[in-house]
Symmetry: C2
DNA sequence: TAGATTGTTAATCGATTAACAATC
DNA sequence: TAGATTGTTAATCGATTAACAATC
């Protein structure tokens, strides 16, 4: 059991807005008590669309791709790297943990056969555009783009979420310079 | 020369707010003309505190650390990985590009000797807390934390910016589920 | 019942926008 | 000068907050 006040203390928001937002999504607290943790997490996962395990595919098995596939947070968020793809013959046939590495030439067929909706792109930026344009947007609906190539947020009917690691260092730099207390986003 | 309208078309914000925000920071456009690109970038870099090259140190030279040090965006943002530190004897003595890898035991002395204000943390989460608590907060002012260990936004007098790669996949998942058009953040 | 905390309202606050005088 | 776009104002919009009746 968790109250809105508990949550507010953890994340630096006022308790009233936590109650309001949860109510907005229809989450059901118990008056005088708070929120049942198990119900709440299930509810939030459902809102985020991660209530059941989702298979995703890694494209690019270099250092960044390997780090991503091994990143512990993805497992907690119910994401499963079902396969990886690379252009390098040395890597094809090997594995990152339980994730097998296939030839990039077989990517589109794999996506179609396994109905993969989300891919994680960690190839050199020079290769990014070519891969993205060849994707079948009837199959792939979302791309998490770790390359420094910037794509529009939406292309065809695919969501593309651009991650810019350097931007985050700029945030720190700005905060240090201006003595801003960052909102902790626990 | 760039107008607020040009910028608004690129990033999906209204031109009025671009003018307002730039004016707020004191950036100086030319009425009837727009903004001189070179002046504007210099100004924005100054605001972000990245107008001159800043040396940062990488802690953890595994896959993630290596990928980060090689990430092209950091160079553009004037960040220079002056050194890397790892616990693994195999890695110590070798390099990632021009970044030499030293023993983690020498980290704090190095930070002090070189007056390094920002470190990038890419060690296993189990090692994160120990490293952070041993840092000298009179020297280090900012930490970019790529581990899945979550730190408060501020500790002692150090800014800690937590990066959660998995969170980004949740964002995509949510957008796909709710057919939200993401704000592109070019 | 008494105590506690939700869900919701109404009030406040801040951020976004449209519009336009200033001026290059 | 005529055309264009800034910087800024005043109006709008939405998000945050405090407060409290409802109720577990």
């Amino acid at each position: 059991m968790l109250t809105s006040k508990d949550m507010s203390e953890h994340c630096g928001l006022k308790s009233s807005i936590i109650r309001k937002d949860l109510a907005q999504f229809g989450a059901c607290g118990i008056k005088g008590q708070g929120y049942v943790v198990s119900e709440l997490t299930a509810y939030l996962n459902k809102i985020l669309g991660i209530n059941n395990t989702k298979d995703v595919v890694l494209v690019g098995a270099g250092h960044l791709g390997t780090a991503i596939a091994r990143y512990p947070g993805f497992i907690n968020a119910n994401f499963n790297f079902i396969a990886a793809f690379d252009i390098d013959d040395e890597k094809i046939g090997s594995s990152i943990g339980h994730t097998h590495i296939y030839s990039i030439d077989t990517l589109n067929k794999y996506l179609e056969d396994h109905k993969i909706e989300v891919i994680v792109l960690a190839v050199p930026s020079s290769a990014a555009l070519d891969i993205v344009t060849k994707l079948d947007s009837r199959i792939v609906k979302g791309i998490l783009n770790f390359t420094s190539m910037v794509f529009p947020g939406r292309m065809n009917d695919m969501y593309i979420h651009n991650i810019d690691l350097a931007k985050e260092l700029e945030v720190i730099s700005f905060c240090m310079k201006n003595c801003i207390t960052q909102k902790s986003d626990d």
